[in-house]
Symmetry: C2
Subunit: 352 residues, 2 copies
């Protein structure tokens, strides 16, 4: 070992010390404090239960058929899946959806994936659960436009095989084929649309499930204050909040949020906080569907909700964390049902 | 053995002789002559080959994604599957389909299932194969309404993951992402949409695969003359024929059939003979989508094409046979793909 080698060794030690001392350069693991993790819960079961509508395999199978069945629309053209496409994480990736006679919807269509975790349904929370929600779009004249509940029941009931399938899905009921049961079956299916992600692995103890950048993004997500609303199992979906809390959010969209339900002035522009699972895939963002890039959505939220200006690197790290929420769609949900044929009495589609 | 018993035995023999002598009451098997069976061929392989576009697993997988991808439409709302829904045997079950800005299509949408067996594509046969066909609806202003091929290529090419998937599906090509290759991939997927049925089992020797009524329907189908056009592996799809051959077919539909392609007067109202596989499921019938009941379609065809009046029982038996053509959709085809997300540069949807 000569003197030259010893000098080089000293230089290397010096560089090592500098690297370790400089947090921006550290190569050590990013550690996420335990209390940060306690703000969330991982997906565990395969369905979100509802005591009033137990999730059974028969009901889920029927619900999947109805979810894909365009006969629930007046035109015979729209199914639930048309706008809440399972191939694109339960959304259409459009600013707002197209409905009967090319009606343009007033608001961005939320995803059905993990929506069972939401404390209420629709942006303004007008439905208390998925069972109530599923009854809306079928009758909405701007969406599926069925004239009334009876027409929907009649159309579906005219399909001989459905009568048997309803009887199996709702055993012991005197009249299994009702509008409520159509909604219950669809909701039961939707209760299985849960997408476990790398973040769930991380929450359940697999420390290497997130990269350092994603962990740093998670820390920033908590420390910036995003978890004030985006927390729990849905990473949101559990509360209502004003859009533009500390600074007005400018939009041409006419939706008034919770005010539409309560008629209380303070509920103007108050919307359900969306869950952020699969947010990478469910662009465009916000109730107006105006923002297409996740980074822009993050920056805007920090600005108008929290009064914080994020740097590009902070924004990028938070977005990287949010992409770790992209989960796996259950295989069974992606298996398309084969729909039973209409009968002689089936109400014909109408394009008018 | 007493005399009374002997008398009863004679009565039973008498009844038996009467039953056997009366063809309407026979309990013997219906036998379908071999030469009748030679008019058809069973589905054997899992894909219909095309030398110019070999069907590979990579291409089929990509084709399935594109088939479900609404980004191939201007509005971002319509995919191939919107009108050729795999959940309903590759049709929409509508008289005609709805396109961009609620355009109502001029003709009934044919099924994609088993369409690879067709000698030509579209009702007027203007595309020689599925590879050529798939290029049409994307650009049709009444359907998916993409302004031009370049826009479709640009939209799909802006999806990062697609670039890799195209490279794998079209290995060795300098520029794998082209409009022709979009169509080739979709066509490769469609070449796998084959639905073996009980009739195929029957054709390959399983005599009990059809009921006696269905066998009788098959005999009547041949003896009435239906197999003049509805023959081969597709039970149709192999030729063109005038709609209203012996008697005018009255319709408000403006389609002129093969005349639109050839401009020959004798091709007026000449349409591609549709294949009858899954015909039970692909109502409403004919190029105008005017007829909803299979029995009515059978009766009308016999009348206007063959000048024959079928009895109710003959019509019913033929319809029963036709229902034995309802096949099994390949499991792989029913597994929905998960579509890759758009990029920052992806051309936005336009509803105008």
């Amino acid at each position: 070992m000569n003197a030259g080698f010893f000098e080089k060794w000293k230089v290397l030690v010096f560089i090592g010390v500098v690297l370790l001392a400089c947090p921006g350069w550290t190569i050590a693991d990013v550690t996420v404090p335990k209390e940060y993790l306690a703000l969330f819960q991982p997906i565990t079961g395969i369905a979100v239960p509802n005591k009033e509508n137990p999730v059974t395999p028969e009901k889920v199978e029927l619900g999947k058929m109805l979810y894909h069945d365009p006969r629930l629309s007046k035109s015979g053209f729209f199914s639930c899946n048309t706008c809440h496409n399972l191939a694109t994480y339960g959304v259409s990736n459009l600013p707002s959806d197209i409905g009967h006679k090319w009606a343009i919807g007033p608001i961005n269509g939320p995803t059905v994936m993990n929506s069972a975790y939401n404390a209420a349904q629709f942006w303004n929370g007008r439905a208390k659960d998925l069972e109530e929600q599923a009854k809306g779009p079928i009758l909405n004249p701007l969406e599926m436009a069925m004239p009334d509940e009876a027409s929907a029941v009649k159309r579906i009931g005219s399909v001989a095989q459905y009568r048997d399938i309803f009887a199996r899905a709702f055993p012991g009921e005197e009249e299994p084929l009702t509008y409520d049961n159509i909604a219950r079956a669809i909701a039961a299916f939707e209760r299985t649309l849960l997408t476990p992600s790398r973040f769930d692995s991380f929450l359940t103890g697999r420390g290497d499930a997130l990269t350092d950048r994603e962990k740093n993004g998670l820390k920033l997500f908590v420390e910036t204050g995003c978890t004030g609303c985006h927390n729990g199992i849905g990473i949101g979906g559990g509360s209502f909040q004003k859009m533009g809390l500390v600074k007005p959010y400018r939009t041409a969209n006419k939706a008034e949020g919770r005010f539409e339900v309560t008629k209380n002035k303070e509920d103007m522009n108050v919307f359900k906080v969306p869950g952020l699972r699969n947010i990478e895939m469910t662009y465009p963002y916000f109730h107006d569907g105006n923002v297409w890039q996740l980074e822009e959505a993050v920056r805007t939220m920090a600005d108008v909700q929290l009064g914080k200006k994020l740097s590009d690197s902070e924004t990028g790290d938070i977005a990287a964390f949010l992409k770790s929420l992209t989960g796996t769609i259950p295989k069974e949900a992606l298996e398309m049902p084969v729909l039973p044929p209409s009968g002689h009495e089936t109400l014909r589609p109408s394009f008018d």
